[in-house]
Every structure is written in C-alpha cells, then in structure tokens.
C-alpha cells in the first residue's frame, strides 16, 4: 500500500479587521515562536509562526495585516488580499483562513468575512472577545449564525487563552475543501454581467474564477479602469461596455455590490444576534466624554505625553548605563585578550565604540514601544489622532502623523517605524522625511555641552533660566521646521489630496501585557539586527578613516588630526567657515555623521581631554579658551555655540536613521534625498543665523 506523505506543512492564515484581537490570537497560538520578515518589495511585515496540532501535524500560521476589506486601501490591505488570492511569491495560498471577528462589532466585521467566503477558501470564524459581548448584553445564537454562514464558529477570548484548544482541534478538522459559497447577490442583470467579466478576467489573467469574480467587482465598482496595470485591453473593453449598459439602466455600480452585501449581512444579524441595548452611556462613552473634551482632552493628552517622555528619559537611564558599562566591560576584556595594536583598536574603539553606543539606545526604544503599544491597544491612539487631526491637516497631514513626530523626541528610529499606521503612501513618506527634525535624545549631549559652556545662568522672572529656554527653543525649532517642511513637501514634491480621514474609534480595552512585550521585543530585535549589520559596517569604515594613515602616532589628538577624516575636516573648512565653524568643528561634524553624540567624544579627543589627566581643565573650559591662530580670536563664541546647536537640530547626522529609511522605503533614493535636504536646510539656516548674529553678539 502506498503511504501518502505530506511533505509540505499546511498553511493557515489569520485575517480580521483592525482591533479585532487578531494579533492577540496569533500570539496565543504561537507564543514566542514567531518570525518577522518583509513581503518582497514592500515594507509590510510578514509574521509567521508554527503550531503543532494534536495529531502531530505541523502548521504554518501567517498573521495577515489588519484589513477592513479585500479591496485594498493601503499596502497592508493589498498584501492581505494578495496572500488570500495566492498571488504572492514565496507565500503559498492558505489552505485555511481563520477570520477573527470582534463579537461586539459583528455587523461591520462580517463584511470582510463575506469577501473571504466568496473566494471559497475554507474558513473558520473566530468570534473573539466573547466575554465583552456578554457584558454588553449581546446574545449571539452561535448555531444559527453557523448554519446561516455554513461555517464552523469557535468562540474565543484570545487574551485569556480561552477557546484556543478548541480552535486547534477545529483547525485539524477544517482543512478540507470549503462547503461555504457566496450567498449575497445583486440584481440579476448585474450578476449576469459580473460573471461575464469574471470569465474574461479568469481567461486573460489565468486566475481562478473566484478570484476573477472579486476583481470583476472591483473593476466595476471603481471609476479607475486600470487598477495599476492590472487590466488587459480585452478586460478594459468589456468593463467599459458593462459600465455603459448599467449606466443606461440607471444602476449605480459604485454602490450596488456593497449595498447588496450589507443587506445580506443585515439579514444574518437580524436572524442570529439580539442586542439588549439600553440607551445608557457605555463605558467607552464615559471615558470619551473626558478624553475628547474640548479642554481636558488636550490637558490629558499633553500630560500623558510629558509623562511618557519623562519616563523614557528617567527610567531608561539605569539600563542604558548598565548596557554602556557592559559594553565597556566587554571592551576591556577584549583589550586584555587581544594584544595591543590595530586589531585591538579596531575592536575596542571602532566596533565596541560604534555599535556599543547604538546598542545603549535599546532600553529607550523598548520603553517607547511599550508606551506606544499601551496607547494603541487601549484605543487611546485613535483618540489622539482625533484630537490632533485639525492641527495636522493644516500642514496637509493626517492626525495619525502626530504620534511619529512625538515619538521622535526620543528617537527618530521608532518614530519612522511607527509611521506604518498611516494608510496613504505619500503622507507616510512626508511624515518619515520630517520626523528626524525633531530633537531626539542623541542631540542632548551636544546641546548640554554647548549650553553649559556658553549660555550663562541667568534667570527671568525667577523661574525661567536662560539655559533652559535655549534648550526648549532648540526643541521648538525642530518641531516648527518639521511642520514647515511637511507643508512644503505636501505642496510640491509629494503632492496629493488631503488625506482621507476615515478612522474607527475602537472601544477602550485593557491592553494585554504579553502582547505589549512581544511587540516591543520584536522592534528591539529589528533595531539590534540593524546595529549588527549596517551600523557595524559603517563603524568600521569610520574607524579606518579616523585612524589611518598615521596609525603609529601615539598622541590620539595628532593621530585624529592627520587622519583621512582629520584632513577632510580641514579641507572642508572653507565650506563651513561662513557658518562660523573652524576645522576642529569640521572634524566633529564628519565623525558624528554616524550619530550625533559622537561630536562630544571627538571634541574630547581633539582637545586631548581624556588623555591628559593632569590637565584640570574640562572639555567645556578647553573649548571656551581655544584661540583660532588665524584670527587671534576665540574659535568658540556664544554665537558659534548657538549656530552649532541649530546645525545639529536640522542636519541629518544619524546613520541609523538613514539605515531605517532605506529599509522602510526599500531603496536609497529617499534616504539620500532626506540627507541632502536636511544638510542643505541646516547649512542655510545656520548661515543666516550666523550672518545676522555676527552683528549683535
């Protein structure tokens, strides 16, 4: 007897509306055994995990991005649809789909399910958050719903692991051809013509009839005829013909399909769900009364933000120092193991110095993502966008762009990563382009050094100190520059309609800790991976440029000054002289291209602060008293310090940001553009400040 071997494991996809608890279910099913990658050519994350069923079979589980519809409106939704159609290379067409539905919001969630049923893929309907539905007095007749839809239904409470085992058993049973077929119909004339078009698409594009039918509806219900090069002339001709005919019959194709679908959904809901709604305010309504209040809404929003950033700065300090000393400790071990020489120097100063100082940002990134996760999962994030949208729409952006901007006060990297929630591609790009203008934590060492050295302690009204005000102005300058640049980009380069603002305001929910940690941990891993690759490479190159050719020079200051980078710093002096900068600053700017705070350590090396322990002068005093031999005047004045700070507010001196931009935009074009526009902006504004300031200071 022949034994049928199942060589390839079955693929199960999880899909559902945003906020349906889809990712929680995925985490409950797979735990930490998940991989995050990207779909080819786009920045949409592909989350994959493995589960083992009781019969010993292994199953590959794909978590598809949250989607409202299979007619895609964002790159995320496009991926979800294409995976289900089996149109993505490297991702097999799922053998089974788990459609997660929020039991408190069945009606709208069923829309997506009805699209999936049309594709005739086996589906299990997962009714999640069944506990909350019970609390809200929603009675769901599960058997009736199941027989009306012709689908197995499993009730779950994903964040409490309820129903997970039952679901696993059902998965074992359900991987077989689907019985469920399309049950909603438009009027006969429309149905007939849609079938005709579906057949044409099926022949022309070699799609299955079910997928072709989906595309036929999409072609007929939008005015865009081409769907980004999808159509062939034959399909186009037929589409136009059908549209003309329907137009003559006074049938509105743009609404008929959706309305027919929703009519069927309404029928299903009426038959199987009873709402015992009283007109009392729900829990969410009560919270919303305060959180979106005209006055308190803003107060609480600002309070929450300041709390978050305050805690990121204070709570992250201890672990950051721990990591810092850990890196130093490893460095000192290496110093003992590897004999003194270039190799030791490369590892200790190049690799540990470069990668190590980037790694110290891990606690901040972790904390920020925990906080963003809390805001997102609790439902507050969409309220923040709701509150801020008017302001952001003034610069042509979406309310959702506000959060990335704010996150970037900590670090532009999570800021750029959090732009993923923005649906419109161009708006997302604009947000990513301006986000690094916000003053991140890496600028703080530069600000602190220069302010402490050059801005006198002077008090206004007894409470506002001048150094504090200068610091705040730098933050404000970044914010204003970001908003203005966003407006400019929206008006010129990335011209697009004012973004559509259709956003669900989900009910408030208590976030699951497990989810928060898994999510934040994924972000941290991504960050570390990058530190280990691109940043490692750049660190080595920078080390080489800062060490050679005079590698045998024992005086670090001289070695740096005569190195490639030192020579370059001196060569660019004519370029930066109009800004009031000398060649020493030039070297600092060049070495800190990797990251901004390197400026401080470079100044330390140039002025021999670390090496000459005898000298009691600190770096602050050293740079204050430095005399420019050419002019006989001080090289650093208060004006220089201010100009330098402005330069650091605006210039793109962060290789990690460039690296993440490359990843998120899939190419070097946008990071390169960002680098040049920011450098040009920094140069221009600093130049003006210097020219004006020289008359006063």
């Amino acid at each position: 007897m022949e034994v049928k071997s199942i060589s390839k494991s079955k693929v199960v996809a999880i899909i559902g509306n945003p906020n349906s608890g889809k990712s929680t279910l995925f985490n409950s099913l797979t735990g930490l055994k998940q991989k995050v990658a990207n779909y080819p050519g786009v920045t949409v994350e592909k989350k994959i995990g493995n589960i083992y069923l009781e019969n010993g079979n292994e199953i590959t589980l794909i978590d598809l991005p949250g989607s409202y519809s299979l007619f895609p409106n964002s790159p995320d939704e496009e991926i979800s649809a294409k995976v289900l159609f089996g149109l993505i290379d490297g991702t097999p067409k799922p053998d089974l789909v788990l459609c997660v539905i929020d039991a408190t919001n069945i009606e709208r969630n069923l829309y997506l399910l009805s699209q999936i049923i049309d594709l005739r893929i086996p589906v299990i309907l997962v009714l999640n958050m069944i506990d909350i539905a019970k609390q809200e007095n929603i009675t769901i007749n599960k058997n009736k719903l199941s027989s009306l839809l012709d689908l197995p239904i499993i009730e779950t409470i994903a964040n409490k692991n309820f129903g997970i085992d039952t679901l696993k058993n059902e998965i074992t049973k359900s991987i077989q051809p689907s019985k469920s077929i399309r049950k909603w119909f438009a009027e006969p004339e429309v149905e007939h013509n849609t079938q005709l078009l579906a057949k044409e698409i099926s022949i022309n594009k070699n799609y299955s009839l079910d997928v072709a039918h989906h595309y036929a509806i999409q072609l007929l219900s939008t005015s865009t005829i081409n769907l980004n090069g999808f159509s062939t002339p034959e399909i186009n001709n037929l589409t136009v013909k059908i549209k003309e005919k329907m137009n003559f019959l006074d049938i509105d194709l743009s609404s008929i399909f959706i309305e027919s679908r929703y009519q069927w959904i309404k029928y299903i809901c009426n038959e199987s769900i009873i709402f015992h709604r009283d007109d009392e305010l729900t829990f969410s309504d009560k919270i919303d009364k305060i959180l979106t209040h005209k006055f308190w809404g803003f107060v609480i929003f600002l309070f929450l933000l300041s709390f978050i950033f305050q805690s990121i700065f204070t709570w992250a300090i201890a672990p950051m120092e721990l990591i810092g000393s850990g890196v130093n400790f490893l460095g000192s071990i290496v110093q003992q193991i590897i004999p003194q020489g270039q190799l030791q120097d490369l590892i200790v100063n190049g690799i540990f110095g470069g990668v190590g100082s980037v790694i110290t940002f891990v606690p901040q990134i972790f904390l920020l993502f925990i906080f963003i996760g809390i805001l997102e999962d609790s439902g507050y994030m969409s309220r923040a966008a709701f509150i801020m949208d008017k302001l952001m729409s003034k610069v042509g952006l979406h309310g959702k762009s506000f959060i990335p901007l704010l996150s970037s006060f900590a670090c532009a990297i999570p800021g750029i990563m959090s732009t993923r929630t923005i649906e419109n591609k161009k708006d997302r790009l604009v947000t990513m382009l301006v986000v690094p203008l916000m003053s991140c934590s890496a600028r703080i060492p530069v600000y602190t050094l220069l302010i402490a050295a050059f801005i006198p302690q002077y008090y206004f009204l007894g409470i506002f100190s001048l150094p504090g005000l200068v610091m705040i102005s730098m933050y404000l300058l970044g914010l204003v520059a970001a908003l203005i640049m966003a407006l400019i980009f929206k008006k010129t380069l990335l011209k697009s309609e004012k973004p559509i603002f259709i956003m669900e305001l989900p009910p408030y929910r208590i976030p699951s800790l497990k989810n928060l940690f898994i999510h934040a941990w994924e972000r941290v891993l991504l960050f570390i991976k990058r530190a280990g690759t691109i940043i490692l490479g750049v660190s080595i190159i920078l080390w080489f440029l800062a060490t050679y050719p005079n590698v045998d020079e024992k005086d670090y200051s001289k070695r740096l000054q005569t190195s490639f980078i030192g020579i370059a710093g001196q060569t660019i002096e004519p370029v930066i002289e109009p800004l009031g900068f000398n060649w020493k600053i030039g070297i600092g700017i060049l070495t800190s291209l990797l990251q901004r705070e390197v400026f401080v350590s470079t100044m330390g090396i140039i002025y021999n602060v670390e090496d000459h322990g005898i000298s009691s002068e600190t770096l602050q005093q050293k740079i204050k008293s430095d005399i420019n031999p050419k002019t006989g005047k001080k090289s650093f004045t208060t004006l220089t310090a201010i100009c330098l700070m402005i330069y650091y507010v605006l210039a793109m001196q962060c290789f990690s940001t460039i690296a993440i931009m490359r990843r998120e935009t899939n190419g070097w074009k946008w990071p390169a553009f960002q680098f040049f526009y920011m450098s040009a902006l920094a140069y221009f504004i600093t130049f003006i400040t210097y020219r004006i300031g020289i008359n006063f200071l």
């Binding site: 007619f71 409106n73 438009a186 005015s223 743009s254 979106t292 603002f501």
Partner: protein, 157 residues
C-alpha cells in the same frame, strides 16, 4: 390629500418614496411579494408608473408589478428631509440616504465601512477643534472629517 393617509401603490407618482402599509389579502401574492422585499414598513421608490405596470426600487433591485397587484398594496408617502450628515444635530438619529458623487475610492471606502443606504447614523461629538466628527453606526464608532461628512446625505424622518 393629506400626507399621512394611506394610498394605493398604483396612485404613486414616479420618483416618490413611500413606505408600505399593507399587502394584498391573497396569501400567495402576499408571500411572493415578501420574498421580493415588499414587506410591511419597507421603504420603496416608484421609478415609473405606466398604464399597465409600475416599476419600483426595492432593496436596490428593480421590480415590475402589474397595476392590479399595485392597487392592492397600500402605501404612505414618506416626507423625507434630505440633508448633509454634517448638518444633522448632535445625537439626532437619521438614516443614510446616499453618498454624493465624489472620488470613487473615498465613496467605496465610506460604503465599505458600512455607510450604506438605510443605515441608522448619529453624530456623537465634534473633536475639540471642531473637526473631525465622531459618528456611530452599525454598533461601532467612526471618525470622519467634516469635508467627508458633507458628501454623505441623510434623511431625517
């Protein structure tokens, strides 16, 4: 003729919206009409009224009835006030009437989120700066800009 008086469907002028009050007494006819969407309380539109038959729009489908049957269906004209959603007072329930001819992608998205004809809708609040607004429909909450809410027409009844 007063508005709240029931009339025969055969008397309804083209283009008028009516609500069905009663169906024919014949059980068979009544059953068939119900299957087609003609049931009590249903809102339908008379598309054309000729000598022998009448075309009605019922649940998005066109159905032709002969005048004999239409005489046995009693309806009441609907006095609908159609306004932009944005002009609806806070907490006042209304039914979606349709979406103006706007960018087809926006229209598609709005409809996919459940803003379809006949859906109950209500404005819950305005954002602190007056824009966007929060509405409720199909048991969930949605936020839209005023500019988008301007293209959604609702009927106050």
């Amino acid at each position: 003729m007063k508005d709240d008086e029931a009339i025969m469907l055969s008397q309804v002028a083209s283009g008028t919206r009516v609500r069905i009050e009663s169906l024919p007494s014949n059980q068979n006819d009544c059953h068939r009409l119900r299957e087609l969407g003609f049931c009590e309380e249903a809102e339908i539109r008379c598309l054309s009224n000729g000598d022998h038959n009448i075309v009605c729009e019922v649940c998005n489908t066109r159905i032709v009835l002969n005048t004999e049957i239409a005489k046995q269906i009693h309806v009441k004209p609907l006095n609908l006030e159609i306004i932009e959603l944005i002009n609806l007072p806070l907490f006042k329930k209304a039914k979606i009437f349709g979406i103006k001819n706007i960018d087809s992608n926006l229209k598609l998205r709005l409809m996919e989120m459940g803003i379809t004809k006949g859906t109950d809708v209500e404005i819950l609040r305005f954002a602190p700066m007056g824009d966007p607004i929060e509405i409720t429909l199909r048991g969930y909450r949605l936020s839209l800009r005023k500019s988008e809410a301007e293209s959604i027409m609702v009927s106050k009844s």
